[in-house]
């Protein structure tokens, strides 16, 4: 079996509030970049599949040269190989999906492609479905658990809205996971050392033989959201007094 995890390098979530509109517009960020947190769960899922069903798990990212660091983190967690699809120009979700689809085909016989639920920078959540459509494969989103993987099918538990569904689909398949799939494991010392030395192969759109579609989503007028009216009104007295005054205030606000 072959599993390929799609990961993206994104800002450390603690630093997201520091990003300025100018940085966001240019894409040149001064914040610390890490593996997109949802994708750490996808890596964990890939490693669990490797342990439970055999085979190898690789990681792939579409990004600039610096995204190699994210791939090293995936190797340090236990992925067996990693590939950078180098792309510096403006690209939207469909472009990312096009490149990832080409990378998956280039990889050979992939059984399961794993992704996170969304990126903490782009927040679109559209890449997993788009990638599956480009490959012509089924896609399972919101996956909390892999129940069974066979030579030609996968059975998973999906969380969709308020329901939990057990769904079976043929492989090859794209699986987008949620946090419940498992907590990302810590890298081992040995893997960190190994990951630091590995030469990570790079591919370009040209080498993959794809034309990256021009972006069809256009963003402008980058700005900070209006600040919250930050003057908190505190209620004092005994818990009973404070509670009564608070409920009165909420009734006045018409939110109760």
């Amino acid at each position: 079996m072959r599993y390929l995890v799609c990961i993206k390098q994104t800002p450390d979530t603690a630093e997201l509030p520091k990003i300025s509109p100018e940085e966001a517009a240019s894409g040149k960020l001064s914040v610390n970049l890490v593996v997109n947190p949802w994708d750490e769960h996808a890596i964990e899922a890939g490693l669990q599949l490797m342990e439970n069903y055999g085979g190898t798990t690789g990681a792939v990212t579409v990004g600039e040269e610096g995204a190699i660091d994210a791939l090293r983190s995936a190797l340090a967690m236990g992925c067996k190989d990693a590939t950078l699809v180098k792309h510096d120009d403006e690209i939207d979700a469909w472009g990312v999906a096009e490149l990832l689809a080409a990378a998956v085909r280039h990889d050979g016989d992939v059984d399961v492609v794993l992704t996170g639920q969304m990126t903490v920078d782009g927040n679109s959540g559209a890449v997993p479905v788009a990638l599956a459509r480009k490959l012509g494969w089924p896609v399972l989103t919101g996956v909390a658990k892999v129940v069974e993987l066979t030579d030609d099918s996968i059975t998973v538990e999906r969380v969709v809205g308020q329901a939990r569904l057990t769904v079976k689909a043929p492989t090859p398949v794209v699986v987008s996971v949620i946090k419940e799939i498992g907590e990302p494991r810590y890298p081992t010392f040995i893997n960190i050392r190994k990951a630091a030395r590995v030469k990570i192969p790079e591919l370009t759109a040209e080498e993959l033989g794809v034309d990256v579609p021009a972006p069809v989503v256009h963003m402008s007028n980058f700005r900070k959201p209006p600040a919250r009216d930050a003057h908190v009104k505190l209620f004092e007295g005994t818990p009973q007094e404070a509670a009564a005054a608070l409920i009165d205030a909420l009734l006045e606000e018409k939110v109760l």
């Binding site: 800002p11 979530t13 997201l16 966001a24 947190p37 979700a93 469909w94 999906a97 903490v120 920078d121 927040n123 679109s124 959540g125 559209a126 479905v129 788009a130 459509r133 896609v139 919101g142 059975t155 969380v159 969709v160 809205g161 308020q162 329901a163 939990r164 569904l165 057990t166 769904v167 079976k168 689909a169 949620i178 946090k179 419940e180 069809v216 989503v217 256009h218 963003m219 402008s220 007028n221 980058f222 700005r223 900070k224 959201p225 919250r228 009216d229 908190v232 009104k233 505190l234 209620f235 818990p239 009973q240 509670a243 009564a244 608070l246 409920i247 909420l250 009734l251 939110v255 109760l256």
Partner: protein, 322 residues
């Protein structure tokens, strides 16, 4: 501009935020059509008429009882070609998001994902959405036809019902497609449990319940019950096993937008704020007056949640007459 709005159903019931998508469409155009796909959806179709759709396409079939991406996509494409709509709207639920992505990528059309606002400018749809987890707002336009947008639940007012409205209802045959998906089991939340993303009131608990987590969340659940709200939690509370992950609010949990969010024993880390920062009114109950949550809260009580939360429940019972 003609709009087609996807009314999502689940075992016959309409997913409530679908009416918000219809409301958004009606606020921009008087040429608004709806498509209802499901099994036994006559009530849903009727309601789409009452809420102001000019024409309602209905695809009713046993195989449509539950959302199936392959089938739904085929039906929507078919209805779009019948309707000739310029804009396709859906709520940004899991299914709405997946449907819009599949529809858009198939024809190379862009999607305004998770829109917080929509407007029309020179016949073009313009959305406002958050990126960097809501820390930056942008205007978004898309190329392609139809123009597609998914709408953040609770960001738009639902279409209002009015009596005496009539509309053309068109029954459309389900498209004959093979789906690769086989649903082997379905487990649903208990009846009456309010979904976090649709809740207008949320009471959440954090690590502050640690000295007696069971009692702490019982108290929080009781308050939520009296207020008719849903129960949320911080990641610290989820990771500690006090409550299940489906209650987690924040960066790696759910993004919510209630009218009222009551954070009990939650410090207000940026990753928590990423999930609840756009609540209309935020209330903090925390024993530490320096907790960052107070800098985004409208109201607060500095105190022990084990005393304050039951007092709130008591006061709410009294004042709401429950």
């Amino acid at each position: 501009m003609k709009f087609l709005v996807y009314i999502e159903t689940d075992l016959g019931d309409v997913v409530a935020s679908s009416w918000e998508a219809l409301g958004a469409a009606l606020s921009l155009s008087d040429d608004v059509e709806a498509v209802v796909i499901g099994d036994r959806v006559s009530v849903a179709a009727e309601e789409a008429v009452e809420r102001g759709a000019k024409k309602v396409y209905v695809v009713e079939d046993e195989t449509r009882a539950m959302f199936d991406l392959e089938r739904c996509l085929a039906d929507v494409k078919n209805v779009l070609s019948m309707s000739g709509a310029d804009v396709f709207l859906a709520s940004h639920t899991n299914n709405g998001r997946d449907l819009a992505a599949a529809l858009g990528v198939g024809s190379g059309a862009g999607v305004i994902a998770d829109a917080l606002e929509l407007s029309l400018e020179d016949g073009r749809l313009k959305g406002v959405r958050g990126i960097y987890s809501g820390n930056i707002l942008v205007d978004v336009t898309v190329d392609g036809s139809p123009q597609i947008a998914t709408l953040r639940p609770r960001a738009f007012a639902p279409a209002e019902k009015a009596e005496g409205r009539s509309a053309e209802v068109v029954l459309v045959d389900p498209m004959d497609v093979d789906s690769p998906y086989e649903v082997l089991g379905v487990q649903r939340a208990e009846k009456g449990e309010i979904s976090l993303t649709e809740a207008s009131i949320i009471v959440s608990g954090g690590r502050g319940v640690a000295k007696d987590p069971e009692l702490g969340f019982d108290l929080i659940r009781e308050l939520a019950g009296v207020l008719g709200g849903a129960v949320g939690a911080s990641r610290a509370a989820v990771d500690a096993g006090f409550i299940s992950y489906d209650h987690q609010v924040g960066q790696t949990g759910k993004v919510v937008r209630p009218d009222l969010y009551i954070a009990c024993g939650i410090s207000g880390a940026v990753q928590h704020l990423a999930g609840m920062g756009s609540s209309k009114i935020i209330v903090a109950v925390n024993k530490d007056p320096e907790a960052p949550i107070f800098s985004v809260a409208n109201y607060g009580i500095v105190g022990d949640l084990f005393e304050v939360v039951p007092a709130l429940t008591e006061a709410a019972r009294e004042k709401l007459g429950k």
